[in-house]
């Protein structure tokens, strides 16, 4: 090939490649295809396991990675539907029945109400029961299932049973026995909730699970503080017949020492209608009180 023809061929190559990149999106836009996110290429976990030819552990990791990516993308877009989440988790845990992280985190993804998660308590419980069946000696799984029954389903008797069963496993955390007792006596109180999350925080070795427990504890603090602050504001309105303009009015009156801060260090917001809310609800997704309207 001469130098001239080499240059010509290189030029044609570059120009044609660029032209194809320009044309392709326009062509694709004419008949848009559905997003691949919700597509399960193979829906039978058993078939995937057989087809893996013994490399099921690696395939399980790949499916778990897909679960995390799928959940992360949907979560970021505040999606209300997580159609493929439960089947993907089923495949990952069938491929590797001992992948405990998939049960623990997967059930959390399934259990959290939308848009934070799929809001599918039943699927979360089914996944955890599968995990316990495959790993009967792992007390962490009983603890997670108990939490779902307690917080997601509010089925305190079932939660008590699960915690009690978990406490019988080898090397079980002694807190499980206390949890079982608390479920039967004082399940609905904030104090019990705080004890539960504190126990989870203390016992978790996984830094992400620890962070999750920490966030729940922070949200519980908010749930306790907001009603107190709201009571202060209501009292002010009753006394002065108007809505306070800022926290400074309370500081001047000596009712507060400074601007009240949430556990993340952000000041609580006093709205013009007199409602006390958190500054950023997305950073405290598990709160029940102080959600902005």
């Amino acid at each position: 090939m001469t130098r001239k023809s080499t240059i010509a061929a290189s030029f044609v190559l570059i120009v044609c490649m660029i032209a194809s990149w320009i044309v392709l999106p326009r062509a694709e836009a004419i008949f848009p295809t559905n997003s691949m996110e919700d597509v399960l290429f193979i829906s039978s976990p058993e078939f995937v396991k057989r087809a893996s030819l013994g490399y099921s552990g690696l395939l399980a990791d790949i499916y778990w990675m897909r679960v995390v990516q799928y959940f992360g993308r949907k979560h970021q877009r505040d999606s209300l539907q997580y159609k493929a989440l439960a089947p993907l988790l089923d495949i990952a845990t069938t491929l590797d029945p001992h992948l405990t992280v998939a049960y623990e985190w997967g059930s959390t993804f399934l259990d959290q109400p939308p848009p934070g998660g799929a809001g599918d308590d039943a699927a979360a419980v089914a996944l955890m029961q599968k995990g316990i069946k495959n790993n009967p000696d792992n007390w962490h799984l009983y603890m997670t299932l108990g939490f779902i029954q307690y917080l997601g389903q509010h089925d305190y008797e079932a939660a008590a049973r699960t915690f009690a069963e978990g406490s019988e496993t080898p090397h079980a955390n002694p807190a499980l026995k206390v949890m079982a007792a608390k479920m039967l006596t004082d399940a609905g109180s904030l104090e019990t909730a705080r004890f539960m999350w504190q126990s989870l925080y203390d016992q978790s070795t996984d830094k992400d699970l620890k962070r999750n427990a920490e966030l729940h504890l922070a949200c519980l603090v908010v749930d306790q503080e907001i009603p107190k602050l709201q009571a202060l504001v209501d009292e002010f309105q009753k006394r002065f017949g108007r809505t306070p303009s800022s926290w400074n009015e309370f500081i001047r009156l000596g009712a507060l020492r400074g601007v009240p801060l949430d556990p993340l260090g952000e000041p609580y917001v006093l709205q013009s209608d007199g409602r006390v809310v958190v500054a950023d609800f997305k950073k405290l997704p598990f709160i029940h009180e102080g959600k902005p309207s």
Partner: protein, 258 residues
């Protein structure tokens, strides 16, 4: 006899080591091992498990490719290049030639697997900041992978002793795939009677049982591997490899090379 077999084995080893494709495959495996910590970052809580699964699976898959494709070319290449005739003209029997070739390739795979395992342990050390007792368990999985290679080289040699390279590759790959379903075949045999059941039963023992040689997922979760399994798998794989090798020697000694 031993000297002649050693000479063939050493020559096979030298030839394989000079093959650039082999280096590329080993390099690719090491690249995969190095990428495992990065892949772990985009997941949750499986960094170590993923590193073990990915590394051992890569070692197994690429080793399998080397076992089958180099295994089938061991004899055919010699015939094609006509380098077999001067070897056989010397006082070296065809059986010795086959065994020598087998030992040479097995040695190559031993060296390759050792290099890949060292790369894997280096990655594990970097990721975990140290090695524990449980990490030693992983060597059992690597040993089983090596046993799998011994079985596959034997099969590749057996098929190449009477068939063309293309068909040999097809047969060996089919045996590799079927090797993961021997338990199913046995289940099928139990639910069927007569000739069908008997054939399924016989096939389940003729096809190598590769599933029992795979403990990758178990070691990834630090589950103990019983010493009995190590013993049984060693005896099984060596017996199977010896049987295929004997078959290859028998067939090759009767093959018309004219």
């Amino acid at each position: 006899m031993m000297r002649r077999m050693t000479a063939v084995a050493a020559n096979t080893f030298r030839e394989a080591v000079r093959d650039r494709v082999l280096y590329n495959l080993v390099f690719f495996v090491l690249l995969l091992v190095a990428s495992a910590p990065l892949l772990g970052q985009i997941s949750i809580g499986v960094q170590r498990v993923l590193l073990i699964n990915l590394s051992l699976s890569a070692i197994s898959i690429f080793g399998t490719i080397i076992s089958i494709f180099l295994g089938i070319s061991l004899v055919s290449k010699e015939i094609e290049r006509r380098t077999l005739y001067p070897v056989l003209a010397r006082p070296a029997g065809r059986g010795e030639f086959i065994v020598g070739k087998y030992v040479g390739l097995a040695g190559t795979l031993l060296v390759n697997t050792s290099a890949m395992t060292l790369g894997f342990y280096a990655a594990l050390l970097l990721m975990m900041g140290g090695l524990g007792r449980a990490d030693g368990n992983i060597l059992i999985a690597v040993y089983f992978i090596l046993l799998q290679f011994l079985v596959l080289i034997g099969l590749a040699l057996l098929f190449s002793s009477f068939s063309s390279p293309l068909l040999s590759a097809l047969f060996a790959l089919s045996m590799f795939v079927a090797g993961w379903f021997t338990a199913d075949l046995r289940g099928f045999a139990e639910s069927n009677h007569g000739l069908q059941g008997w054939l399924a039963f016989a096939s389940s023992y003729l096809i190598p049982n590769l599933a029992s040689l795979n403990v990758i997922t178990r070691v990834a979760h630090d589950q103990p591997i019983p010493a009995a399994l190590v013993g049984y798998n060693t005896v099984y794989a060596l017996s199977y490899a010896a049987a295929t090798l004997s078959g290859a020697a028998l067939i090759f000694s009767r093959r018309n090379l004219k």
